[in-house]
C-alpha cells in the first residue's frame, strides 16, 4: 500500500465531514417546506381556505364582515384600541415612527388590484387590515434568523429576542403589515408622555425593545389560554369577525366561507392570506 499516511488522513477527514453533513442536508431537502398545495387548489378557493392541500395542522384565519363594520360605526376603532392596549403597542404620535398591528385603510389601499367601480359605499369606506398570517408567508422565507416563523396553529409569530432588526421581512411583506421599533417604545417624549400609556399597561404581555420588528400575532398568547383574539372578542355577537381553523372543514369559519362571497388581499401573489373579507 503506497498511500501516504497524510493522504489517508485527508481522505478520512473529508469523508467524515461529508458523512456528518449529508444526513442533515438530505433531511432538510426531504422535509423542506414543500408547497402544501398545487396550482389547482389556488384556482379553486371554494374548496376551502387553501384548497385541497394535505392538512398537516391548523391554520387559523379570520373572515372580516365589512357590512357589519359599516353598520356598526366605531366598532373597528374599538378593535384597534383593544388590540393596541392588550399588546402594549406604543403611540409615538408621528407617522415616521408609527407602529400599528391593526388599522383602517381605504378600499384602494387594501385591495390594490381590484377595480374601483364598486358601489361608492364600499369604495369610500375604511377597511380593517392586519397581518394576513399567510399560509405561505414571504416574510418567514426572508428572515435570516427564524425570528419570524409559522407556529403549528398557522400563526406567523415573532421572537422579539432573536430579531436582529434587518427589516428584510418588512421588504418581503406585500401587505405592509410589519412595523419597526425605530426608537425605544418603553421611553417617553420630550413632554414626559410615555409612548405606552402607564395607566393601561398590560403586565401580562411583554413590551418590546428598540430595533426589533413587530406586528399582529393573532393573539397567540390568548389562543394558548383557549381565548379568541382580542379584536374577535370585542366584536362579540355582532360576528363582524369570524375566527377559526381554516383547515377544519367543520369549523364555523369554513361554513361562512362556503356560504358567502369573500375576497382576499393580493391573492395573486400566492402567499395565501388567511384573512378574508365579506364586502
Amino acid at each position: 500500500m503506497d498511500m501516504k499516511r497524510r493522504d489517508f488522513l485527508k481522505i478520512a477527514g473529508i469523508s467524515t465531514i461529508a458523512g456528518l453533513g449529508a444526513p442533515a442536508a438530505l433531511e432538510m431537502l426531504l422535509k423542506g417546506d414543500a408547497p402544501a398545495s398545487s396550482f389547482a387548489s389556488s384556482a379553486a378557493p371554494a374548496e376551502g381556505a387553501h384548497g385541497a392541500a394535505p392538512v398537516t395542522g391548523k391554520q387559523y384565519g379570520m373572515v372580516i364582515n365589512h357590512r357589519v363594520f359599516t353598520a356598526n360605526q366605531g366598532l373597528a376603532q374599538q378593535c384597534i384600541k383593544a388590540c393596541h392596549v392588550t399588546h402594549n403597542v406604543p403611540d409615538f404620535q408621528n407617522p415616521k415612527d408609527e407602529i400599528k398591528w391593526i388599522w383602517e385603510t381605504g378600499f384602494e389601499n387594501a385591495f390594490t388590484s381590484l377595480p374601483t367601480s364598486y358601489p361608492s359605499e364600499v369604495i369610500e369606506s375604511k377597511f380593517l387590515v392586519l397581518c394576513n398570517h399567510c399560509a405561505n408567508p414571504s416574510c418567514v422565507r426572508a428572515c435570516p434568523t427564524k425570528a419570524t416563523f409559522k407556529t403549528s396553529d398557522g400563526v406567523v409569530a415573532m421572537d422579539y429576542h432573536r430579531c436582529i432588526g434587518c427589516r428584510f421581512c418588512m421588504a418581503a411583506c406585500p401587505f405592509g403589515s410589519r412595523s419597526f421599533n425605530w426608537r425605544d417604545p418603553r421611553g417617553k417624549d420630550d413632554k414626559g408622555r410615555y409612548f405606552i400609556d402607564r395607566l393601561t399597561l398590560n403586565k401580562d404581555f411583554p413590551t418590546r425593545m428598540r430595533g426589533v420588528v413587530e406586528k399582529c400575532n393573532l393573539c397567540v398568547e390568548r389562543l394558548a389560554k383557549g381565548l379568541v383574539p382580542k379584536c374577535v372578542e370585542v366584536c362579540g355577537d355582532t360576528k363582524a369577525i369570524v375566527f377559526g381553523d381554516l383547515n377544519d372543514p367543520h369549523s364555523e369559519i369554513r361554513e361562512v366561507l362556503r356560504t358567502n362571497f369573500t375576497i382576499q388581499r393580493k391573492p395573486e401573489l400566492g402567499t395565501k392570506p388567511s384573512i378574508f373579507y365579506i364586502v
Binding site: K96, N109, R141, T145, I164, R167, A171, P174, F180, K266
Partner: protein
C-alpha cells in the same frame, strides 16, 4: 509589510488625517444612533431601508468589479493587466469592508448580528449574502497578500494560490447575483421583481467599478512612480463602455416591459423616479441628473479624442460613477419602497446623522484602500528602483 503604510509624504498624511477625522465624526454619530435607535435616520414604516442598504448594494458592485482585471489576466493571460490585479483585489477588499459596515449600521440590534450564524436559515437570501460576501473578502485579502508577498521577495507566486484565484472569479459574480436576489424575489415589490435585476446589477457594477479603478490609476500616476500604462487604461475604458452600454440596454428593457404592458404596479416606481407620481417628484431631479451624466459619459468614452486624453477621460469616469451611484445608490433601493404595499407615497430624506455615518463608512473604506494601495505601491516602487 504594514510598516510601509506608516511613512509617506505630507500630502499622504493630510489625506489620512482627513479620512480619520471623517471616521471620527461618523463614529460619534454611530454612537448617537446606537443609543437612540434607527429613529435617528430618515427611514420609516414605509421606506424601511434607506441610504445604508443603498450604499451596501452599490458597493457590492464595486467589489465584484475587481474580477474585470483579474479575469483577463489569469484566464486569458492578458499580461497588460498584470500590474493592475492587485489594485482590483484591494479595491474589492475595501468595498466589501464598507458593505459589511453598512449592514451593521443598518441593523436595529447590531449586538445580535451573529444570530445569523447561530440560527442559520438557508431559505433566507440574507444568510447566503453573508456567506458569499465574507468568503469574497477572505479570498481577496488572501490572494492579494500572497501575490504581493511573492512580488516583494522577487519570486513567482506559489502555485497553490491559483485555485483560490480561479474560485474568486465566479465568486465575484455570485456576490452581486445574491445581492440582487435580496430584492428580486420579493412578492409585491414590482420594481424589484424582475429577472433582469441580477444581470443589470452586474452590468452597472462592471461599468462603475472599473471607472473608479481608472480614476484611481490616474491619481496613483500623479502621486507615485507607478504607472498602469496607457494600454491597460484604454483596455479598461473598453470594458467600461461595453458594460455601461449593456446597462443602458437593460434599463431600457425595464422601461419597455413596464410601459408597453401598462400594468400599473410595474409603472408606478418608474413614474415616481423619472416623472413624478401623484405630484410626488422628490427623486426626479436625481434620476434626470443620473440619466444626463450617464449619456454624456458614454459618449465621451466612445469618442476617441475624449477617451484618450487623461483629463477628459477622468471627467467621463467621474460622470459615469456619479450616474451609476445615483441609479443604484439612491433610485433602486429607495424607489422600490414607493409606492408602499398599500400604494401610499412616503418620502424619505436622510437625517444628517445618517449622512455623517454614511460618510464615515466611505472614509473608512478609503482609509483601508489607501493603506492597502500604499503597501502595494511601495512594493512595486522598490522593484522599479532595484
Amino acid at each position: 509589510m504594514f510598516e510601509k503604510a506608516l511613512v509617506g509624504s505630507s500630502k499622504y498624511k493630510v489625506w489620512m488625517a482627513f479620512l480619520l477625522a471623517l471616521m471620527g465624526i461618523g463614529g460619534l454619530c454611530y454612537v448617537r444612533q446606537f443609543n437612540y435607535g434607527l429613529g435617528l435616520t430618515g427611514m420609516s414604516r414605509d421606506v424601511s431601508w434607506g441610504i445604508y442598504i443603498a450604499q451596501f448594494t452599490f458597493l457590492v458592485g464595486v467589489a465584484a468589479s475587481g474580477v474585470m482585471v483579474v479575469l483577463p489576466y489569469y484566464l486569458h493571460n492578458y499580461k497588460t493587466f498584470g500590474k493592475l490585479t492587485i489594485l482590483g483585489e484591494f479595491l474589492a477588499v475595501s468595498a466589501v469592508s464598507m458593505c459589511l459596515m453598512f449592514i451593521i449600521a443598518d441593523l436595529g440590534q447590531p449586538m445580535r448580528a451573529l444570530n445569523v450564524l447561530l440560527h442559520p436559515t438557508p431559505n433566507s437570501i440574507l444568510f447566503w449574502d453573508m456567506i458569499v460576501l465574507n468568503v469574497y473578502l477572505f479570498l481577496n485579502i488572501f490572494v492579494g497578500w500572497v501575490v504581493l508577498t511573492a512580488e516583494k521577495k522577487g519570486i513567482a507566486p506559489p502555485k497553490w494560490i491559483k485555485p483560490f484565484i480561479y474560485v474568486s472569479i465566479p465568486w465575484a459574480v455570485s456576490i452581486h447575483t445574491v445581492t440582487a436576489f435580496l430584492y428580486a424575489g420579493l412578492p409585491g415589490r414590482h420594481f424589484w421583481l424582475t429577472a433582469i435585476l441580477a444581470p443589470r446589477f452586474l452590468a452597472s457594477a462592471f461599468a462603475g467599478g472599473p471607472a473608479l479603478l481608472i480614476l484611481l490609476c490616474l491619481i496613483i500616476k500623479r502621486v507615485s512612480k507607478f504607472d498602469a500604462g496607457k494600454e491597460a487604461i484604454q483596455k479598461l475604458v473598453t470594458i467600461v463602455s461595453y458594460a455601461a452600454l449593456i446597462n443602458v440596454f437593460f434599463v431600457l428593457l425595464e422601461f419597455f416591459t413596464s410601459y408597453y404592458s401598462n400594468i400599473p404596479g410595474h409603472m408606478h416606481t418608474l413614474d415616481y423616479l423619472f416623472f413624478g407620481l401623484h405630484g410626488h417628484s422628490q427623486l426626479v431631479p436625481w434620476m434626470r441628473v443620473s440619466t444626463v451624466f450617464g449619456i454624456v459619459a458614454i459618449v465621451m468614452l466612445l469618442v476617441p479624442y475624449t477617451k484618450q486624453r487623461e483629463d477628459t477621460l477622468a471627467l467621463a469616469c467621474i460622470l459615469l460613477f456619479i450616474s451609476l451611484w445615483i441609479d443604484k445608490g439612491i433610485g433602486l433601493v429607495i424607489g422600490g419602497f414607493v409606492p408602499s404595499p398599500l400604494e401610499e407615497i412616503t418620502a424619505y430624506t436622510p437625517n444628517p446623522n445618517e449622512i455623517f455615518i454614511t460618510l464615515g463608512i466611505w472614509a473608512t473604506g478609503f482609509f483601508i484602500l489607501t493603506v492597502l494601495y500604499k503597501i502595494a505601491l511601495a512594493v512595486k516602487e522598490e522593484k522599479l528602483i532595484a
